[in-house]
């Protein structure tokens, strides 16, 4: 928590109203998003109770499970959800565009648009991830067959849930996080996790937020009191009015979701949001292609190399996202100014024609002097960037106290054209206000990783191919590790086996007590 954001929280308390922490919108908001509100049964690992979903605010579709512990009901629910979600995802795969790669020597295809799913909170994302994990290994034959759309749904849900982990991705968005990026409330962040309360702080203020605490919940967890009083009797007698009750429970959240979307649409979009949505479209294109080519489902767990590669991608994305947000939004950049990683000042001297001819070839190296009253915590030799000219580097030559602040002498390179005379406007002129920061958008190459077959012994050695899957038990299925197809990385041919559990699970009962669902149903009834 930065002091700037903490101060905004303090202001929100006094104003009894949420306060902005962004001046632009930092995520892509789709013209036709799908809103999906999952509701789960308490206590169970991942038993769906209901989902309200759709792309039209006026026509929510409600799917319910009358007996959440019944496997057939759960399978039917999965098939119904697939019927909603798969056509939506597929509708974006047909129109593609050409994108130049390899400096224009080649082109590749990219879908012109991609799906976007909105859930109320991080719990909703977790629910979809688990439901994806549950359904993607289900078999269309054998003892407990499901329709083909169900494992496909599982793979799509896993794709969306994985992309939600990528900082800056907007394929699967949770409203709490999206709103929290742009407003802070006058309560703790733990309390913000209640979507209805958070939205009330933004829309109407503190008093309305207290009122919203009374519910209804935004899922996926239900209120224990509601469970005991309303739900349990209905489920016990498989009451026909259950859908109506759940519809009434979810409708307020459904309406709030669309209001949250409208609120976010009202903000001007950040300049670099489009770039990130392009990356999302790339990921979507790669995954839909992977599916079309009959690629295997995502593994239960990544192998060592795939996991390291994924971590590296996430770290790169996080770093890029932080820089892009700061460059897009002066209020985000202000946080860096407060900590000394950026400062704003005025150009007092400029020598735009300075040429450095000490090397083999003369090069254009203009120098400017920037006067600032903000703390400067950079050493000579540091490279700085100005969000106004992201492709230009400014190397700090000297920092000297002057008047009520500091004079920073900078030497510029890049972003001025190819001649020995700078393009007009490419060198900051005297009097220009400038913000300089140590943040940079420059590409940072990641470390190189070995092929999975060459995984060193320190990381468990090359993955072993697991024994043939037991058809009746989706849990025991060995799944080929295809890496993350969304990353379009080198496909990995390894497999994950159950014995990579690590030291935390030395006791592994190999003898499963019956099949996966058989036990739960037998024991629960």
């Amino acid at each position: 928590m930065s002091t700037l954001t903490a101060l905004a929280r303090a202001q929100a308390v006094v104003a009894a109203r949420a306060q902005p922490v962004a001046t632009v919108r930092h995520l892509h908001v789709h013209d036709h998003p799908m809103v999906l509100i999952p509701l789960a049964m308490a206590g169970e690992a991942n038993a769906p109770l209901a989902v309200m979903a759709g792309t039209d605010p006026a026509r929510p579709r409600l799917l319910t499970v009358t007996q959440p512990r019944n496997r057939d009901d759960r399978f039917a629910f999965a098939a119904d959800l697939a019927e909603i979600l798969l056509p939506y995802a597929d509708s974006f795969t047909t129109d593609t565009e050409d994108v130049a790669i390899d400096r224009g020597k080649d082109v590749r295809q990219r879908c012109v648009d991609a799906p976007q799913i909105w859930v109320p909170n991080p719990g909703g994302v977790d629910f979809l991830r688990l439901f994806g994990r549950y359904t993607r290994f289900l078999k269309t034959d054998g003892e407990y067959p499901v329709v083909a759309a169900v494992p496909l749904l599982g793979r799509w849900l896993t794709f969306f849930a994985n992309s939600a982990e990528v900082p800056g991705s907007s394929l699967l968005v949770n409203a709490v996080q999206a709103l929290g990026l742009h407003w802070v409330t006058g309560q703790s962040s733990a309390e913000d996790a209640q979507f209805g309360v958070q939205l009330a702080w933004i829309e109407s203020g503190a008093a309305a937020a207290r009122e919203a605490e009374k519910g209804p919940v935004a899922g996926p967890a239900t209120d224990p009191d509601f469970d005991n009083r309303v739900l349990a009797p209905l489920i016990e007698r498989a009451a026909p009015e259950l859908p109506a009750v759940l519809h009434e429970l979810l409708l307020p959240t459904w309406e709030r979701m669309w209001r949250a979307l409208a609120l976010l649409r009202g903000l001007p979009v950040g300049e670099r949001v489009g770039q990130r949505w392009d990356a999302d479209r790339d990921a979507f294109t790669a995954f839909s292609r992977h599916l079309a080519e009959g690629g295997p489902p995502q593994p239960r767990r990544d192998g060592a190399v795939a996991a390291a590669a994924r971590l590296q991608r996430l770290e790169t994305a996080a770093a890029r996202y932080a820089v892009q947000r700061a460059f897009d939004d002066p209020l985000v950049l202000a946080e860096y100014r407060l900590t000394g990683a950026a400062f704003a000042g005025v150009v007092t001297l400029a020598n735009p024609d300075r040429v450095d001819d000490s090397g083999k070839r003369p090069v254009l190296r203009p120098r400017i002097m920037v006067h600032t009253t903000e703390p400067v915590r950079v050493e000579p030799g540091t490279s700085l960037t100005s969000p106004a000219r992201p492709s230009q580097k400014a190397r700090v030559i000297s920092v000297n106290p002057a008047g009520d602040g500091w004079d920073v002498l900078l030497e510029l390179s890049g972003g001025m054209g190819r001649k020995l005379v700078a393009e007009p406007g490419s060198v900051p002129a005297v009097g220009e206000h400038l913000t300089l920061t140590t943040l940079t958008e420059a590409y940072r190459p990641g470390g190189s990783l070995p092929e999975p077959a060459e995984t060193p012994w320190t990381h468990g050695g090359p993955p072993v191919v697991a024994p043939a899957p037991d058809a009746g038990d989706p849990d025991a299925a060995a799944v080929p590790d295809a890496g993350d197809p969304a990353a379009a990385a080198v496909p990995e041919t390894a497999a994950v086996s159950g014995d990579t559990a690590g030291p935390e699970a030395p006791v592994t009962p190999e003898a499963a007590a019956g099949s996966d669902d058989g036990v739960s149903e037998a024991a629960v009834r």
Partner: protein, 355 residues
Amino acid sequence: MELPMVQSTRLDQLRGPVRAKRHNARTIAALTGNPGCDRRAVLDAAGVDKLKLAEQVGFPGSFGQSRFALSRGNAFEAMLKADDCALLREVLAASSELAYQDLGADHDDTLGDRHERTVELLAGARAALVDHPLLTLDVAGQTVYLEPDLIAWAHHGRLQVVEIKSFAIIDDQAESAKVSGAAVQAAVYVLALRQLLERLGRDPALVSHEVVLVCPAGFSLRPAAVVLDVRKQLSTLRRQLSRMASISVLIDALPPGLTFDLSLTPEQLTAALAHVEPRYAPECLSACELSVYCRDEATGSTAALGRTVREALGGIETVGEVLALAEGRREPSEDQAEAAALLRAALRLRSEALS
């Protein structure tokens, strides 16, 4: 228990003429989660029903448990313990000859008896599974009974805590909040067992710091056992328990005649609560029945916004003070000077960017 007569009478007086609420591992874990909260320490020591108290003063919290969750937990436990614990033995890789004894099944209300039988059984330290033992723990100078939902597994000359939980472990992963909660509770049991052995003059290290967590694996109720190392939780717990101000000091400082008798009016109870210093933090909302009341009381304090916010604001107590310092309406004290400068800069930057 071991308290002098005078003090135990004082605790009875604080509680009023009802039966005392008993401690369990959860309450102790919560207590040590916020050791600076005198209010919770006093109310728990006196065994006041905080849920009812919160309702009385008009700030009911929702601390119910869903019937669905309960029935799943019970079903899982029943399944493990069926047929003389066949499945539990299997998952623990324990011998089928191991004796199983359930101390909770007797339903006698004399805690002393049950505790003595626990001591007797555990002192024997034969290979056995001992269900529902009754343990004691010293909390803030007071000995409290613990009725843990645990199985003490004596084997190879050691005692190990076995905890049965019904949250799922999927692909060797479980919800971290639930795992850490289970680990803290297990640490409470380990500590209580160690204190017991110590009192018996035996080596407390016989109680393993590795506890066994038995949970359903995957999407079914098929059990899996996972070993958790709770050394870290144990040392935290010990430190927090030693830091907790002695209850007797706290009680002595209270005005004579103070009581939280639930038959009092809400106004009287609110006035009584004001005599015991709380320490509210947002984490209380998930751990303490009285938290909604304390939150209301803490409105306007920076602590109510969370520890990180408070720290980012330089540890300044109230929101009003923060804004006054940021706007320069108030002269900072010497130790506030640094925080005030940062706040002024922050406000300037915010206003500049938002204008």
